[in-house]
Symmetry: C2
Subunit: 296 residues, 2 copies
């Protein structure tokens, strides 16, 4: 297998996604809402969801161009979920990606509307901008994205998460439910929407679903670990928040060492699910490794 340079790959894809996101949402009247949406949408971040979508579409013989509108829509949806999660009525966070949160800058009313606007625009944008894709495949993407955000997806995960706040006896099953929905659903949709666009068959979808679910859970375990081991500066958000809030996390249930072991196992299983794709899967395999190796 030729060596694969993940750093260059990610930098290249991130630059493509940044450029597209920047032109996806020009400022118009009333300027304040567009500025608020752009403030959070263009606040950086790893762009993991768009990159997973692009990589999966290419893995199955699709092109970057086919997947780019869906990739951007995924980041709009992810951004909406962050803006709403940070609200005072929810997690009440003041900082995100090293900057004041949306409602801290624009006020709660605008932050709520910016989230609504991003979620709605994601569907407009992907259906207008996608070219050279079978309309039936594109409809599958719409279904998948809607499902990922709905009460059967990240909204449901956030509800259970809020419900567990301050409760000392959260089980690992509940914790798994929260993360499979709150973060997992959209990560899975990122991978599988890329597959939908390329017209994936059932076996390919099943393999990619296993891959996505495993890296999604590993991603969250590592997030929990980093909340303990990294500094606020490294994270770009308040570190140690879970401990202060006495929140149940994987490290609080399993300890740091076992959490790392579990994350590594999930990544191994994720990678094994992609064996049918051979060396074409190099980017997704490297991204899976990156999830446990990351420092922020």
């Amino acid at each position: 297998m030729p060596s694969f340079n993940l750093k260059d790959y990610l930098a290249h894809r991130q630059a493509l996604v940044e450029a597209k996101l920047n032109e996806s949402l020009p400022v118009a009247y009333p300027e304040k809402i567009y500025e608020s949406m752009r403030y959070s949408l263009l606040a950086g971040g790893k762009r993991l969801r768009p990159i997973l979508c692009l990589a999966t579409c290419e893995l199955l013989g699709g092109t970057l161009e086919m997947a780019m509108p869906t990739a951007c829509a995924l980041e709009m949806i992810h951004t909406m979920s962050l803006i709403h999660d940070d609200l005072p009525a929810m997690d009440n966070d003041d900082f995100r990606r090293g900057k004041p949160t949306n409602h801290k800058v624009y006020g709660e009313d605008i932050a709520i509307l910016a989230g609504d606007g991003l979620l709605a625009y994601a569907f407009e944008y992907l259906t207008i901008k996608t070219q050279n894709v079978d309309p039936r495949h594109l409809l599958k993407v719409v279904t998948r994205l809607g499902h990922a955000v709905s009460a059967a997806g990240l909204v449901g995960g956030q509800v259970v998460d809020l419900d567990c706040e301050g409760k000392p006896d959260v089980t690992v099953e509940t914790l798994n439910f929260i993360h499979a929905h709150k973060t997992g659903a959209l990560l899975e949709a990122s991978v599988l929407s890329g597959a939908d666009l390329a017209g994936a068959n059932e076996e390919q979808i099943a393999r990619l679903k296993t891959f996505a679910q495993n890296i999604g859970l590993a991603f969250q375990i590592i997030d929990d670990i980093l909340d303990i081991t990294a500094t606020s500066e490294e994270l770009g958000k308040t570190a140690g928040k879970d401990l202060t809030a006495q929140k149940t996390t994987y490290p609080s249930l399993w300890g740091l060492e076992e959490s790392k072991v579990q994350a590594d196992q999930l990544i191994t299983q994720a990678k094994a699910a992609l064996d049918i794709f051979g060396s074409q899967a190099a980017p997704l395999l490297a991204i899976a490794d990156f999830i446990t190796a990351r420092k922020s």
Copy 2:
């Protein structure tokens, strides 16, 4: 033209829509969020948006069955906009349709998430449930609904509305902008999505757009009038709120009598736009008349 019984027509369509909405969103874990969504989705109301969608689809030779999932999705989106508009950070309303608002019953966090969940689910629902429609037509519906909610639609209208709060010098142009976006955009999408589903041509879309924009504005003028002339009991929400809040309304700019004249003119123009459809347009013409005749 045979006489058209609007009362029976509306009652029949409302019953169909209620039944479909009721089965559209079964309760699952975590129950609280589904109950919250159902609380607002099934709180009654005129179901004007679904009925407009169904009527327009039928006008152009489509069937009720083709349009029903989109009709329900429109009501989910409308409900989301009401839940979020009522939030303390927005209009801070305690009552809606004669019942405590969503956040008063379930809390602000759940109310925000219920709105998000309804918006996302609308797109999942309509793409899963719609049958016997050209997928390209269905993609147009997705685009249209996304656009109607985005910053170029109702979100933008709400931003300008919030901005005008307590300002004494709001012009009629700004007021028109607010209502064309805050209420008009989704009413227009209701009519035109019905047309999309039936495969409308450009001329038909143009006529129906004129119809929708005129009834949308007339609807709002009548809303403003009713806020002054109707009781809270009749409205199912606090009456006289605009006056208390010193809000600029059409009656505050034009007076009650001239406002009524303007609404009537808009309805006349709306109906004239449908002359190409002949007697088939009877339901839409009667709905237009109903908008100015309604008491709540």
